[in-house]
Amino acid sequence: MFTAPIAELAPALASKRLSSVELTTALFDRIDALNPRLNAFLARDRKRALGAARAADARLAAGNASPLTGIPIAHKDVLMTAGWKTTCGSRMLENFVAPYSAFVVERLADAGMVLVGKTNMDEFAMGSSSETSYFGPVKNPWNVDYVPGGSSGGSSAVVAARLVPAATGTDTGGSIRQPAALSGVCGLKPTYGVCSRYGLIAFASSLDTPGPFAQTAEDCALLLNAMAGHDPRDSTSVDRPREDYARLLRAPGGAKPLAGVRIGLPKEYFGEGVDTDVAAAVDAALGEFRKLGATTVEVTLPNLDLSVPVYYVIASAEASSNLARFDGVRYGHRAAKYDDLTDMYKKTRAEGFGAEVKRRILIGTYVLSHGYYDAYYLKAQQVRRLIAEGFQHAYQQCDLILGPTAPTAAFKLGAKTSDPVQMYLNDIFTVAGNLTGAPAISIPCGFDRNGLPIGLQLQGNHFRESVILNAAHRYQQATDWQRREPADIALETAR
């Protein structure tokens, strides 16, 4: 019962068959037992969580609860959380306690969710394996020799291990969808601007997108309902009428619930470099979608091969500027000894940042430099526009674009840490969604030869979250990949 999805826990809480205190206590016992092997939590606080759980129970009793009241959640440590250490997985913020909360953190707290802790991540969200954290790598709950994906690997792992039913993440180039795929859970990247970035410690401002992790698409819809909304503190937040992202999911389905839905299949997603097990699982999923009434059409996404280089130019350029504030002057790490101001900057940043963060700052500084700006940054922005135009063209022929979330299932810890380009290519199918700003979800669709989960990505045009969520939900009603759980025994063996 305690490891059920939100859609099952909520009625139990509402009908008092289960209290939030019971649920939170049970999950904390699991966390205490399993987290040491996963290293998925950076901070957790049972006492504070139980306080929130009691408040949630009172609210449930008073009858003014939301569909999320009393449900435990964990936040990626990139989100400012008032009174909690918020480290971004970096030595730079090792002892930094956030004085305010991010918009999405506030919204989920307002909904009555019970915050249990902060999750581990790639340092400053830079990475695809959750190995660049200053606090050690996160392990994949399906096999602790493998990475959970990244950068939100702590969040995907805690949901996969059923330590919490929900977690937040942020997606800059795939950092929600890729770990969701590699950890075998659902992860939604909403349209850029739907969830405010206020309080999200910026990596790449034009790409950063907060979103939910959960076991099911339906749960993601419930979470998005709370997380979405206009925020005047973020000038890129969109001001649209409130939307119920779960409304299509409640409509009666019938035998062909996806009749009329056109699924685009870009040949670019089914070519070389995609693992055969991944390709087979995606093919099988496609068969299910056809059974559900969807039609398929081949589309092309020109310039998609350029999306990774374009992404690394733009994201690194923005990061080099966004991370300048970590200078040792006002907060965060400062070198103990230094000769003068310049020396203080150098030592502070040399000590405070890890190798991957430094690499990105160097790339970003380079591409913005005088004499290189036009060839790199400006050109990347032009190609970004071309890629977006390619997607718009494709969406004239289809409602959704389907493909694998990542070219392979999870890889072993350390396998790609010495080859950044191989690591970056993990994002090949996900980065375009950030470059265009359009929404996408990753849902489990099978396992590879090693028993590691495979993710299916469904992309839609801007603000078509409900269409994406509905398609994913109908697929999950017809299949049961999302119900598979990593055997605790697997974790046990690795001890």
């Binding site: 918020t86 004085p99 305010y100 005047p232 000038s235 080099s320 504030r325 430099s369």
Partner: protein, 500 residues
């Protein structure tokens, strides 16, 4: 060989919004350090800038006032560099596309009237301040950071290199200073750093069309220092070239204590600011309706008002300039004029009431009230005498009711300034018994007494000594304690002397 001096100015004007350009923190000057720095201003992780529309509106107002183009779409960029008083590690500033392009400022110098073209005016945020003094003993070797100023909105106004002397540069700076205060976009307090000038100075042989290598003199915050800095720099560059050297492009600081400029950094040390559009801020879009609203709100500008004063009131240019030196002076003058015109039953001695009133009011505002303001080191907006009160006083003077003489009127103004009788001129005149004696019978009787008592002087007058007449007038005035109407005294005395 004759040298030509070429000067362009970049002026940082702090815009008079109550809150900062990207945060809700107050912009008030003088608060204890770091008490007006919000999470955005100190650049906590995760915070984002939100543009203050009041700053944009002031930029539009400026663009309209100088006849520039308001860009319908302008872009905020990040200027990246590390400094402790720059919390984000970058300054948000408009770079490629500024909010205002073009426009001009008309200046007047001894050389005549000249138009200085503007390149652009762009919005940006001010940095904080590094404090090297006033720290506690324990922290004496440290540098303090005050972020109260960080995020204060600035409009950087960039001129073309159109000025040819320090005099023109100062005239430009002063005209610009008047204008930004006039249109209410900047408080213009130079001690508080509201208005700071950088001067780009170069020299070339007269007749050359190519500009010489320029040096930029940074952050001069008084007109006098600006003049000295430019004059020093011109001398330095000419000397350098005449001695066979070349001017290096560099940034220099003016040291007022030693009255010289010193090299701060050369071109080689120039930083690469790695400008790029700020992804946190969408492009600034200004629609025609907004521009029209601001236009409708724009006051009559000083140049236009000066011309109008000269035409309508037949003022000399000096008086028109003085009355339009600040918006407050112009407002005070116009209010006093309106009040005076509203006082009933004033006889006019001149043909055009407008011209008569204006001439009197101008005299009282510029000279008489001006003297008090000057002596008390205060601005006209803080004058204890209101325009209505001054008009009341002026109505009593010679050209109008003639109740009191000009000399007495000045004494009454002093009493008004001191707050006597609540500053009410009528009340002061009554209380002090200053009302002029205009009764011919009363004056005649005093004249008779004076003639009788001063036979020797009367004899001198009759012997043809005109000076003796003045002495007799003085005797009459003294006898009336200055209250007798002087022209009446003159007429009656002459008449009585000729008939006696």
């Amino acid at each position: 060989m004759s040298w030509e001096v070429v000067i362009g100015l970049e002026t940082h004007t702090q815009l008079s919004t109550r809150s900062k350009i990207f945060s809700g923190a107050s912009t008030a000057f003088g608060a204890p350090p770091n008490t007006q720095a919000s999470a955005v201003d100190i650049a906590l992780p995760g915070v984002l800038p939100v543009l203050n529309r009041g700053a944009v509106e002031r930029a539009i107002r400026f663009g309209l006032a100088v006849g520039g183009t308001i860009n319908k779409r302008s872009v905020f960029a990040r200027k990246n560099y590390f400094y402790p008083d720059l919390p984000k590690g970058y300054q948000i500033s408009q770079y490629e596309i500024p909010v205002v392009q073009g426009g001009s400022i008309t200046i007047t110098t001894n050389g005549g009237v000249k138009t200085v073209r503007l390149t652009r005016a762009h919005l940006e945020e001010d940095a904080g301040k590094s404090l090297h003094e006033g720290l506690s003993q324990a922290a004496s070797a440290m540098t303090g950071i005050d972020l109260n100023r960080a995020g204060t909105p600035l409009l950087e106004i960039v001129s073309e290199p159109d000025m040819r002397s320090a005099e023109e540069a100062i005239a430009y700076a002063k005209t610009l200073h008047t204008l930004v205060r006039w249109i209410g976009i900047c408080d213009g307090n130079m001690q508080e750093g509201n208005f700071r000038c950088d001067a780009n100075v170069s020299v070339r042989n007269a007749g050359d069309t190519k500009l010489g290598t320029r040096c930029e003199i940074k952050n001069v915050n008084s007109f006098r220092f600006l003049q000295h800095a430019i004059e020093f720099e011109v001398r330095r560059q000419i000397q350098l070239v005449e001695d066979g050297g070349t001017v290096e492009q560099e940034t220099r600081l003016y040291d007022p204590d030693r009255d010289e400029t010193r090299s701060m950094r050369t071109k080689e040390d120039a930083q690469d600011y790695r400008y790029f559009p700020d992804p946190d801020l969408p492009p600034l879009v200004i629609d025609e309706a907004w521009i029209e609203r601001v236009k409708a709100d724009l006051p009559e500008l000083p140049v236009a008002m000066k011309a109008r004063f000269e035409k309508e009131y037949l003022f000399f240019p000096e008086d028109a300039t003085a009355l339009t030196s600040t918006r407050a002076t112009a407002d005070y003058f116009q209010q006093t004029l309106a009040e005076l015109a509203g006082i009933p039953n004033i006889p006019y001695l001149l043909q055009s009431p407008d011209v008569a009133n204006a001439k009197s009011v101008a005299n009282w505002v510029i000279n008489e009230l001006g003297a008090f303001l000057n002596n008390h080191q205060t601005d006209i907006e803080n004058s204890p005498v209101s325009p209505a009160q001054l008009a009341q006083l002026i109505a009593h003077t010679g050209p109008f009711k003639g109740t009191i003489s000009h000399k007495v009127a000045k004494d009454v103004l002093a009493a008004m300034w001191a707050g006597e009788c609540g500053g009410d001129a009528d009340a002061i005149i009554v209380a002090r018994g200053l009302k002029q004696i205009s009764d011919a019978g009363a004056i005649g009787k005093i004249v008779d007494d004076v003639i009788a008592a001063n036979a020797p002087i009367v004899a001198e007058y009759k012997a043809g000594k005109e000076k003796a007449f003045n002495a007799l007038v003085g005797k009459v005035m003294a006898a009336t304690k200055g209250k007798a109407n002087p022209s009446q005294v003159n007429a009656i005395l002459r008449q009585k002397l000729s008939s006696s």
